[in-house]
């Protein structure tokens, strides 16, 4: 059940120019959250009324903490205000919000976790949770089946400077693409996949719209199941205001048109069901 509550800042540091790594103590959210979900962060500045939706980069149910890696979107912005907050300070958060990635779809498959830019952090939590179950099997009907992926490959696309890469390496193979070629493949995440010859069995992705469009086409051409996490300007974060919709190919469940709510029906959608 989603809750709005006060979180205490455990730590905050800058991990790359303009990218902050924030750990919050908020057990009620840490215990429930699944990879691909997000939280709304409320600022203390009354001129910045709307919450900032930020995806979960990590959770630690035992410690009762969640981790958010977010981009400071500019001078005087809400995220800049958040970036100045320090250990011990309090901030209101609401979550967990949204649906998350369908982890069961990775069972028995080679899962490719693809992140671009500030879409990378939620893929780290996805990698961590999937990795914790690699090789685990269960029984269903007449036989044993895998409940987890056979292999995890993370494909990370950056403009130039990288972040979070060593942490992804703990969970499997990592392919890197940079626009300037300073690390890994010069180009985008698809260039890195093609360059490596990786054959994904299933794709989970988060990143800028052009990347998601390209992945949707790639997945369709190769008949790879693909789920992508969408981003849109949000107000309420819980499906009431209908601000953050995205175009769908079929009638959406809420409004019975072709505009699904990113916050409540998503943010993760099956790529083929979106009209990008």
């Amino acid at each position: 059940m989603k809750t709005k509550t006060e979180a205490v800042i455990v730590s905050q540091k800058q991990i790359q120019d303009g990218i902050c790594d924030l750990v919050l103590s908020v057990p009620v959210i840490a215990e429930q959250a699944v990879p691909g979900q997000f939280v709304n962060v409320f600022l203390n500045d009354p001129s910045k009324l709307l919450p900032r939706p930020i995806s979960l980069c990590g959770t630690d149910a035992e410690e009762g903490t969640i981790r958010l890696a977010y981009r400071v979107s500019g001078e005087g912005t809400g995220t800049e205000e958040l970036s100045r907050m320090r250990e011990g300070e309090r901030v209101s958060v609401m979550g967990p919000l949204g649906n998350g990635f369908p982890l069961e779809e990775a069972a028995g498959r080679h899962v490719c976790l693809i992140g671009g830019g500030i879409g990378i952090p939620p893929m780290l939590e996805t990698a961590r949770v999937l990795h914790s179950s690699v090789g685990v099997s269960g029984r269903k009907g007449d036989g044993e089946y895998l409940t987890a992926p056979t292999e995890i490959t993370s494909v990370l696309g950056f403009r130039d400077r990288t972040f979070l890469v060593p942490e992804f390496e703990a969970y499997g193979k990592v392919l890197i693409a940079t626009e300037d070629g300073s690390t890994g493949t010069k180009g985008n995440v698809l260039d890195a996949i093609r360059g490596d010859g990786t054959e994904p069995g299933v794709i989970f992705a988060c990143g800028p719209l052009p990347m998601l469009r390209a992945l949707k086409a790639f997945a369709a051409a190769h008949h790879i199941p693909c789920w992508i996490s969408m981003e849109e300007r949000m107000a309420c974060g819980i499906g009431a205001c209908l601000a953050c919709v995205c175009r769908t190919t079929e009638t959406d469940p809420h409004s019975h048109v072709k505009n699904a709510r990113v916050c409540a029906d998503g943010p993760v959608f099956e790529a083929g069901k979106l009209d990008l």
Binding site: M1, K2, T3, K4, F42, P46, S47, K48, L49, L50, P51, M94, E232, R233, M234, A235, C236, G237, I238, G239, A240, C241, L242, A243, C244, V245, C246, H254, S255, H256, V257, K258, N259, A264
Partner: protein, 305 residues
């Protein structure tokens, strides 16, 4: 469950347990907020606008944060009255609160079609939205020309079995004239204000922030404008006035009542303070205690006395 009897108000024969309602479009049809706040504590839930058929709404981006508030150009995306009656209304009826359905349309016939469809449904009142700034046909055109507003009010009144509340736009020269026009058309109450048309430009990209270019401004910054308009409307008509616009505290709500409103709606504040509605109802009880006032209705229009 017991309630503070002192907070009861009556709008056109409809008794509310307290004057606090939700503003249309900010609270869905109650379902989304029911996990975060107790709908039983509300005087009424006013639903998101409901049309005769599903509406797609506008392209994104649909919202922009601005100083002291926000702009929205959602464009009344909604599933239409059939889905509303089948799915949303039964959900709302589980709670001990009144249900007021906001009705939208492009034409007089579309409004009256919804009004007729709801006539025998368990709906306590209708709020007719003739003031949405984000819908090109209908909507705001009905809400800015007094003669047109009077005509649509009469058509809705004739088709309705429930009290009809006309929701007015602030984007007019004289709010008093608009209030008088809908009163002449037979409205049982008026509610105001809807959002104030605004625009935001992304200077770095030299583009409109909203896909629709313009959007309706809401939030605390519009509150004084809304209080003034509610005061003017309350002095222009005899029918009850429901005040809204930028309420984010009990005092904000009480300003509307002192200006002449019989009830209030809380909108944008739900987005950043999901329990605000029930807190305002509790705050009203505390206000009555503090100032030794017998009942909330004693405050209606009391700024004059």
């Amino acid at each position: 469950m017991s309630y503070d009897e002192r907070l009861k108000v009556n709008i056109a024969g409809l008794e509310l347990k307290n004057p606090v309602m939700t503003a249309s479009g900010t609270f869905g049809s109650g379902q989304e907020y029911s996990a975060l706040t107790d709908l039983n504590k509300l005087g009424a839930v006013v639903t998101k606008g409901v049309a005769s058929v599903p509406w797609e709404g506008n392209p994104t981006p649909r919202i922009a944060e601005v100083y002291g508030g926000m702009l929205n150009a959602v464009g009344l995306q909604n599933p239409g009255v059939e889905v509303f009656c089948r799915r949303d209304l039964p959900f709302l009826k589980q709670f001990d609160t009144k249900v007021i359905v906001n009705v939208c349309g492009h034409t007089e016939e579309e409004y009256t079609e919804v009004v007729r469809r709801l006539a025998d449904e368990p709906v306590d009142a209708l709020e007719i939205n003739i003031s949405c700034p984000n819908v090109k046909e209908g909507g705001i055109a009905f809400g800015t020309v007094p003669e047109v507003a009077e005509r649509i009010t009469r058509a809705c009144r004739d088709a309705a079995k429930q009290p009809v509340i006309m929701k007015l736009s602030p984007n007019v020269t004289s709010i008093s004239d608009m209030a008088k026009a809908v009163e002449a058309g037979g409205a049982d109450a008026v509610s105001l204000i809807n959002t104030i048309t605004g625009m935001k430009i992304d200077v770095a990209r030299r583009k409109f922030v909203l896909a629709n270019r313009t959007g309706g401004m809401s939030g605390p910054a519009i509150h004084p404008i809304a209080v003034r308009m509610v005061y003017e409307a309350a002095h222009a008509v005899k029918i009850p006035v429901i005040g809204m616009g930028g309420i984010s505290s009990t005092d904000d709500a009480l300003e509307f009542m002192l200006a002449g409103a019989s009830a209030v709606s809380v909108g944008t504040a739900n987005f950043y303070h999901p329990t605000i509605t029930q807190e305002i109802a509790d705050g009203m009880s505390a206000y009555l205690d503090r100032y030794h006032i017998g009942k909330i209705t004693d405050l209606i229009g009391a700024v004059d006395s």
